[in-house]
């Protein structure tokens, strides 16, 4: 079966086509290395040294080469608020290649529902992209790290490979309900232990969206070129 199309975002990290969405979705939750391109390209008072130090105190940074099954979540960016994630999305789209945003809750779950029955993708399709050396290493290392995590219900799926499970809680936009944002996902238990019935579409809606939450990160959706 042919691999779905893939592309890269402005930071050089992979996105894969999700047919049910008619859009690209980040292959992985946004990583620290990925976010650092934004920090360095667009220095601002909002995302200054203190800001990043606060995130790293919650979830420390590791080098891509150090990623393995016992620490891989440290490569992912967490502790970020939804508006801050949207700032990154804005930056991604500023180079004129598509419109980036947080997926809606419906979109995220629709993608998850489709991917949780798909077998893992041959990484060659992702590695064939023009990834930076660090991005390539992160993709390879995370794939190997997650493969070491026990799959659920009979083996690894593409949803596992993309860290929609065993990754982080991922911010999504809510079109209905009292909160503009929620989160889907099931984080690695060593990052945050919680019981979530993801298969039933259980979403988390934190009370305080300004609070920095150690297990909360995001991935982006992209439409258009």
């Amino acid at each position: 079966m042919p691999s779905p199309p893939a592309t890269v975002d402005r930071a050089g990290f992979p996105m894969t086509w999700i047919e049910p969405l008619g859009a690209y979705l980040h292959w992985l939750p946004v990583t620290k290395v990925q976010f650092e391109y934004f920090l360095c390209d667009r220095p601002s008072a909002r995302f200054d040294q203190d800001w990043y130090d606060a995130l790293l105190r919650l979830n420390r940074r590791i080098s891509p080469r150090q990623i393995d099954g016992s620490n891989y979540w440290h490569a992912l960016l967490t502790g970020i608020t939804p508006p801050e994630a949207q700032a990154f999305a804005q930056w991604c789209g500023d180079d004129g290649h598509g419109h980036y945003r947080l997926p809606t809750a419906e979109e995220w779950f629709k993608a998850y529902s489709a991917l949780r029955t798909e077998p893992p993708l041959d990484l060659a399709a992702i590695e064939a992209l023009e990834l930076s050396p660090r991005a390539r290493l992160i993709v390879q290392k995370l794939d190997a790290a997650v493969a070491s995590v026990r799959g659920e219900g009979g083996g690894r799926t593409m949803a596992d490979q993309m860290l929609m499970r065993h990754g982080v809680m991922e911010w999504v936009e809510c079109k209905e309900g009292r909160s503009p944002f929620g989160a889907y996902g099931r984080p690695n238990k060593q990052l945050e232990g919680r019981l979530i019935n993801l298969e039933a579409g259980q979403m988390s809606i934190p009370n305080d969206l300004e609070q920095r939450l150690v297990a909360y990160g995001f991935r982006l959706l992209r439409r258009g070129e």
């Binding site: 220095p43 200054d48 040294q49």
Partner: protein, 468 residues
């Protein structure tokens, strides 16, 4: 394009520099910088022992260039001091006087000449322009190794002429040798922080009329198509005839053949010759030989030369210089400064400026802040005296991933760089020196601790070691 540098102090010149060099105050010829953009600088130093004929050969070469008739070639004299020096040379040549042995001067004044439409290297059909900066260094400066480092221009010279009179060397009682001459040059280069590797050394045998040359070399010498350039035109069949199809490329095989012959001659006939050749080649320096006769014969007892002097292969050292003189790739440096809230000590006592001053003499320098992808200012612009207005994270990855393949970086920081470890197993390992003003970072292989009052040369030396 390599940076244009002051011909006197060798400091880089701002593209708009005019009148005087802002670094040393020496007067620059009119439109010097602009002219150098179209005629890249070609630095030349003649080195050799006293009375071995250096200045005579240089005089003869310039006189021949003044009289050169080859295509559209012409020689332009830059600046009044050079004009006056050439006038003195011209008078001495007309009166048949051998120029005085060069007086030892701490910093010899260069002759500044521009060659227009010189024989082309990259395209034989097209002439090339060069701004020749020629220094004739007093023989006495080579007597002791320590004096030579005063000639900063040596660092710019891609091709150095070691000018030797084999007959004089054979009778030398001062212990001077070819190896010693080369080591004097090497010593100066080490003091100037410059690498020898890839440079060119041309051994120029002077006074060929007094040498027992191999027949083939002698035939080559006598067949010089330019030998009559400085003879007064006559109506007779003798006299200079412009060669119809002279090209550097066409002349090169003969030059190479003679170079090989002279290398063998050096091994067999020059004291210390084999050791010299092995030493030079062991330094990965390109070595060539040529032979010249600037006067066609000895001066008579009244110190007058033959009135219409034939000069043999006097231009060969210049031809070698043009041929071998691939533009030395300007080294590309990055200076990366800590812009974190704790980075203040980096800017104390003007440290970035002091480091920049040291780097800019060796190449082009671009300054960055850690945590900011874009450079702080243009390449070649002085670094900021203070940190960024907003404290930045100590991140370097986006800078490294945009840097040129040949760029070497010097990072000044007071604390750990968050993502430097990402590059520990990449080529950056040997292209970046981390200078720590706080706790030493032992995780990076090229790490230099800096304490207030330390000489910035230490960190520069560490970086230059990486450029070898």
């Amino acid at each position: 394009m390599p940076r244009i540098k002051c011909p006197f102090c060798v400091k880089p010149l701002d593209p708009t520099a005019a009148g005087k060099c802002p670094s040393c105050g020496e007067g620059l010829p009119d439109h010097f910088v602009r002219g150098c953009r179209e005629a890249p600088q070609l630095w030349m130093v003649t080195s050799g022992f006293s009375s071995h004929g250096k200045t005579t050969l240089l005089t003869a070469m310039i006189l021949m260039l003044e009289n050169m008739r080859l295509g559209n070639f012409y020689l332009e004299v830059l600046g009044q001091p050079t004009h006056e020096a050439l006038q003195r040379m011209r008078v001495e040549a007309l009166e048949g006087k051998t120029p005085d042995s060069t007086q030892p001067i701490k910093k010899p004044r260069p002759l500044l000449l521009r060659l227009h439409d010189a024989p082309g290297v990259t395209d034989a059909a097209r002439g090339e322009n060069h701004t020749l900066i020629a220094l004739d260094v007093a023989g006495e400066m080579f007597a002791t190794l320590d004096e030579l480092h005063g000639v900063a221009a040596l660092r710019e010279v891609q091709t150095v002429w070691l000018m030797v009179s084999q007959p004089d060397l054979a009778q030398d009682r001062g212990g001077n040798t070819l190896s010693g001459l080369f080591q004097a040059y090497e010593s100066a280069m080490i003091r100037l922080g410059a690498s020898l590797e890839g440079r060119n050394v041309i051994v120029v045998f002077t006074k060929a009329d007094r040498m027992n040359l191999p027949p083939e070399a002698e035939s080559y010498l006598m067949a010089d198509p330019f030998q009559d350039l400085t003879r007064i035109d006559q109506d007779s069949a003798e006299g200079y005839q412009e060669p119809e199809d002279f090209t550097l490329a066409g002349n090169l095989p003969a030059m190479e053949r003679v170079s090989d012959l002279l290398a063998e001659y050096t091994r067999r006939r020059v004291p210390g010759g084999p050791q010299f050749i092995n030493m030079v080649r062991g330094r990965r320096v390109n070595l060539r030989f040529c032979v010249t006769s600037a006067t066609g014969g000895d001066p008579d007892q009244r110190n007058r030369l033959k009135e219409q002097a034939r000069r043999f292969r006097v231009l060969d050292p210049l031809f070698w210089t043009l041929w071998l003189g691939q533009r030395r790739e300007e080294k590309d440096f990055g200076l990366v400064l800590d812009a974190s809230a704790q980075g203040g000590p980096v800017y104390a006592d003007g440290l970035p400026a002091a480091v920049w001053d040291g780097l800019v003499e060796r190449g082009e320098v671009t300054t960055y802040y850690l945590g900011h992808t874009r450079p702080v200012g243009l390449p070649g612009q002085r670094p900021p005296a203070a940190s960024a207005p907003r404290a930045r994270q100590r991140l370097i990855g986006p800078i490294l991933e945009r840097a040129g393949d040949d760029q070497r970086l010097l990072v000044l920081t007071t604390g750990p760089v968050l993502d430097l470890g990402d590059f520990l197993h990449t080529p950056w390992r040997d292209r970046l020196v981390l200078v720590t003003l706080g706790p030493d970072d032992e995780s990076w292989p090229h790490s230099v601790p800096y304490r207030a009052g330390d000489d910035p040369e230490t960190m520069l030396h560490a970086l230059l070691q990486l450029t070898r």
